[in-house]
Symmetry: C2
Subunit: 397 residues, 2 copies
């Protein structure tokens, strides 16, 4: 038996090498930056008109002239090439570059035009650089805006496009095999079930929790016999990561630990001081394959992925982000056992509160909750208002 | 000019017909249920052993016997077929069906076995149905667990698999064309830019905000000429939805409204009382195509998608979920104009707070914020502690 913190450390210490590559922008979402992302030039790249209007020069001291002569117009996508005299102005459209020698932009709503001259609305006040987005005020050239190891999120896509990252420095995919075990398990598409059969949900839970990670996932299944398990583990160990569900406890049908050892895996821990999820098994193979043996209960599978598999995958891509966030607990909670406990919980506007359910075997527990909280081993009581680690079920980038 | 609420109502009233279909479970994520999802049987489907141990019958009144004779064992995936006498018990493994005539399950840790008999650990207390997950306690047969119009989320996948939904009743995809306009716009992959050029980010913003929606997206681009716009709109109007960016304001190069009318679209509104994003144009074509003309500023595009395009798409699939959630504002805020304002904001453990940025043209504004809040037109002042509508940038299922 190993503590939760030690188990996490052990898992992270076995992180795999990954290979930097370039992936097309929209396909890179969910991957991780293999290099810093920086600005190739100033943003805006020029003094940019923030409104439609007329631009001219003002020294900021003498009164602004009553009228300016229109020297021409500038559209977005054009650069003004000519000189501009002190008595002249130019029409300029939103998004167009304001000529460097001009420092004033007055909105079209505040002027009138007549005989190639403009006149200002009465009572206007003027500020230099008004309505002009200054070159570099958004991002300066060479500024690092996103760093190696961060996850590539949908939120980044727009900035990456602006900065010219049609391809994003990220990583080649890892491979994983999910091996579900259990004589009672059938495919979800099975319409007619024997009374003792249940449909596989765990492998789908894992695939949905790992959705968008740069991991290619294969599926295998085995009956509860040494022969079936060894055959499937031998095939699955060609993946980088092998995730087994079920058969990992101490019952007479729990052959997974023995089968993994028979296939040449070394056990780094079996059983962790957490509830539920205690029987979790973790080991490595000399060929480099990493094996997670998760218990077969739906909630235990979710815990195993959230606290071990996800952090492990992130570590392989040099990402140290947590898979939890901090939330305020809205009620007190007494500890039931000396282990780290994970409890299904519901997010609300003030924080999170624990949800009642029947046990880790429930299939509806995750539907009727938004995530889970951790009640740490050493805390006998959590108070209302305490900050807790909250693991949302939904993608947590 | 139209109020924000009226503009939203107008958009939603034009929702398109969609076609129910069946989509494989993992591919259905992001789509919407076209039928209610219900349980095909009780869950658990039998009284299920929650631990490894021995099962026997107890009337709940007379003392539990000192010892029981082992009649056999039951593994997950097996159904006990024989009789069991009052002095007998069975070994049973976690997940296996407890025979109907038995109502007690004692953990393997609490017993010892000798000569085909089991004996209890001293001082044990007994409760009927202990360690047994009762048939139907999780979900009763025919219970509706997810309803038509809800969005299919990663969180549902596990339950859908358990209930036998290898294929999910959902909808065929809508088609959308994004038409970016502007002489200054180039592809993100353009390495060498003229000083006046900027790379396209808006179409990528839209595609990342609509990621996982059941919408197939095509890309087109047009220069700021009537001829180019009309050609591209004519091609794009074969999609269900046409989303234009740029060229929709009142400047001399803003030809989009005129081009849409020339192509046979009817304008339902142009200009909405919101800031930023005021120039938004919305119309429909007799062939059924719906057109959104969004301003070219990055922040205005995000607003247009979050408050109009996303709610519209959801409505087409009979989903009336909001694209915002409620959060507590952590500071007061005074209103600047009589319009509805959208302001970039940051989520924190206590709620949200407004973020400072240079304006709606900034490309870094969305990177350094987690979403935006709405300051309603009629509220002169928001107080610290007020509940506000918060639109997260990240997927909001």
């Amino acid at each position: 038996m190993i503590s939760f913190d030690d188990a996490q450390k052990t898992v992270l210490s076995k992180k795999l090498e990954t290979t930097p590559t370039q992936i097309p922008l929209l396909e890179s979402i969910g991957n991780f930056y293999s290099a810093d992302i920086s600005a190739d030039r100033n943003y805006p790249p020029f003094n940019r008109a923030a409104v439609d209007g007329i631009a001219f020069y003002w020294d900021g001291i003498s009164p602004v002239k009553e009228s300016y002569q229109i020297a021409g117009s500038i559209f977005a996508g054009e650069m003004w090439q000519k000189d501009i005299q002190a008595f002249e102005c130019v029409w300029i459209m939103t998004g167009a570059p304001v000529p460097k020698q001009l420092n004033m932009l007055v909105r079209v709503e505040d002027i009138s035009a007549q005989n190639n001259h403009i006149y200002f609305r009465k009572g206007l006040t003027f500020t230099r650089m008004q309505n002009i987005a200054k070159e570099g005020e958004d991002i300066l050239k060479d500024t690092v805006v996103l760093t190696k190891g961060m996850r590539i999120t949908p939120q980044h896509v727009s900035t990456l496009a602006s900065l010219g990252y049609g391809f994003v420095p990220s990583y080649g995919f890892l491979t994983a095999t999910i091996l579900r075990t259990g004589n009672e398990i059938t495919e979800p598409s099975t319409d007619v079930l024997a009374a003792w059969q249940i449909r596989d949900s765990n492998s789908f839970t894992i695939r949905s929790l790992l959705k968008d990670y740069p991991v290619t996932i294969n599926m295998r299944s085995a009956q509860d016999t040494m022969e079936a398990l060894v055959t499937q583990i031998e095939a699955g160990k060609h993946s980088n990561i092998l995730i087994l569900t079920g058969g990992v406890s101490a019952g007479a049908a729990d052959l997974v630990p023995e089968a993994l050892l028979a296939c040449g895996f070394t056990c780094h821990f079996h059983k962790v001081e957490i509830r539920p999820g205690k029987p979790i098994w973790f080991g490595t193979h000399p060929t480099g394959c990493i094996a997670f043996g998760l218990p077969g209960n739906p909630f235990s599978v979710q815990i195993g992925v959230k606290v071990f598999v996800e952090p492990f995958i992130r570590a392989c891509f040099n990402n140290r982000d947590k898979t939890f966030i901090h939330k305020i607990l809205t009620h007190e909670r007494l500890k039931k056992i000396s282990f780290d406990e994970f409890i299904v919980a519901d997010e609300n506007i003030h924080g999170v509160c624990v949800k009642k359910h029947n046990g880790s075997g429930d299939i509806s527990a995750s539907l009727s909750s938004t995530g889970m909280i951790r009640h740490q081993a050493q805390k006998e009581k959590l108070e209302a208002g305490d900050t807790v680690d909250y693991y949302p079920w939904m993608i947590n980038w």
